[in-house]
Assembly symmetry: C2
Homo-oligomer: 264 residues x 2
């Protein structure tokens, strides 16, 4: 289970403030906390700083890499920003994200191939944000085709089949769960990932819904997620889910995480 | 989602003491608490009182029925005890349980048919306690066959495909999850149920594992469970799971449960 740690994202108010004021200690602490909590990749996003995103992201990358050995997940809506950020990373990163929109796809896929990065692929094209199971599977298939045709191993593709608020459509999460299961079966070797927060929009006790979706998705085969590993409730739900579905030999990771105090 | 409330079971020390001392208030409180917490059936079990189980169970049934309108789940290892208890219940009960062992099956099925009760069927025969997916499905099929041949509607059968400790076999819960999914698909109209506590035997933070299994099983189609509805953590995990898989129109049950303070 690959955990992409989501906290260092400028759409979060405190992170935007820390970037604005170049508060190195704040960002360092965010990076260290996520590293210690069990992250596999640290997402870095400065997307709200339109016009100066490249400089801001470069600063983030430097600060984060000073305190963690973990690889980064370069997260930007702007192709040029990604292109300029890639030469700065010390470890092979992940790129967040490609879609099937031609400009984005054709701009980023060559970088994925050149830098041998992992990449998140959203089930989204010029005219479709996949909502039905059928659309999610269809666009996932197109992503697999485009990515592998560009010489990128399928093992480097993390498909995000998109997750919408339950408050708007009661069946929306079920569509994502079924898509995850089918994608993992139909395209052997590919991975699935997902951000969790959309699902609970408009509902009370959002974190409960988020972690319940995570457990459900892991049960269906999800093998990566974009989340906050410092949230102990979500972290321990994740560890318990891997144990329940038999992906934790002798329950050793679960028992170790408990003994190391990672559940409290 | 049918909740069979498990607390009034003499294998629990405080319940056995309350039965021994005929502590009416204690049992009444247990029944009321489970009723108010969202139970659909109240399980009653006096199985540890060998030799005087009938009298003890009759007493339990009377005391519980004084304070709740809910139907009971008559839970006994002894066929004769079940036979004597049935005439005492006010509402159509559930019987816990039949197996494929001939004495038990042939003794109880006529009672199920006569009293038109619901019944829990364990995937267990004379020579097999189903551990593999194949055995679970095979015995489930035999239960369906025997039960319907006795004139009992398939809608009254709740199959428990058995759940074993993860600490003994890492893949044991996955087998149960896959069996639940297949049973619900292969035998339309049947129900599945499950006790949760076995799965976490020998592990730390057992309740976390139990509720994570519950969420995973609901995701696979489980539509009943034997659990303690007064455990807020498990109750809210259950409500969130039903919402996530689209079995809660407009998320109304989830939102109501939250507003009524059932999550705290």
């Amino acid at each position: 289970m690959l955990i992409i740690a989501e906290r260092i994202n400028a759409s979060r108010k405190y992170i935007a403030q820390a970037i604005s004021s170049e508060n190195i200690d704040f960002i360092r602490n965010e990076a260290k906390a996520q590293d210690q909590a069990g992250a596999d990749y640290i997402d870095v996003n400065a997307g709200v700083f339109v016009g100066e995103e490249t400089e801001r992201l470069k600063w983030l990358i430097e600060v984060v890499q000073e305190v963690t050995e973990l690889p980064l997940c370069i997260d930007s809506p702007d192709l040029k920003v990604i292109r300029e950020a890639l030469p700065l990373v010390k470890k092979t990163p992940m790129i967040n994200s490609i879609t099937l929109e031609p400009t984005r796809l054709e701009g980023i896929l060559p970088l994925v191939a050149e830098y041998k990065t992992k990449v998140i692929g959203l089930c989204q094209s010029e005219d479709t944000m996949a909502e039905t199971i059928e659309d999610k599977i269809k666009l996932a298939g197109q992503l697999v085709e485009k990515v592998t045709a560009a010489g990128v191993p399928i093992d480097d593709l993390y498909i995000d089949s998109l997750l919408y608020p339950l408050s708007a459509n009661t069946k929306s999460a079920l569509a994502t769960l079924e898509a995850i299961e089918q994608i993992m079966k139909e395209f052997p070797g590919v991975h699935t990932t997902c951000g969790l927060t959309n699902v609970s929009y408009g509902l009370p006790d959002r974190k409960l819904v988020n972690r319940t979706f995570l457990v459900s998705a892991i049960t269906r085969g999800l093998d990566s997620a974009i989340l906050d590993p410092t949230d102990k409730q979500i972290y321990k739900a994740l560890k318990a889910a891997l144990t329940v579905i038999g992906k934790d030999d002798y329950c050793l990771e679960y028992i170790s995480a408990f003994r190391e105090g990672r559940f409290e």
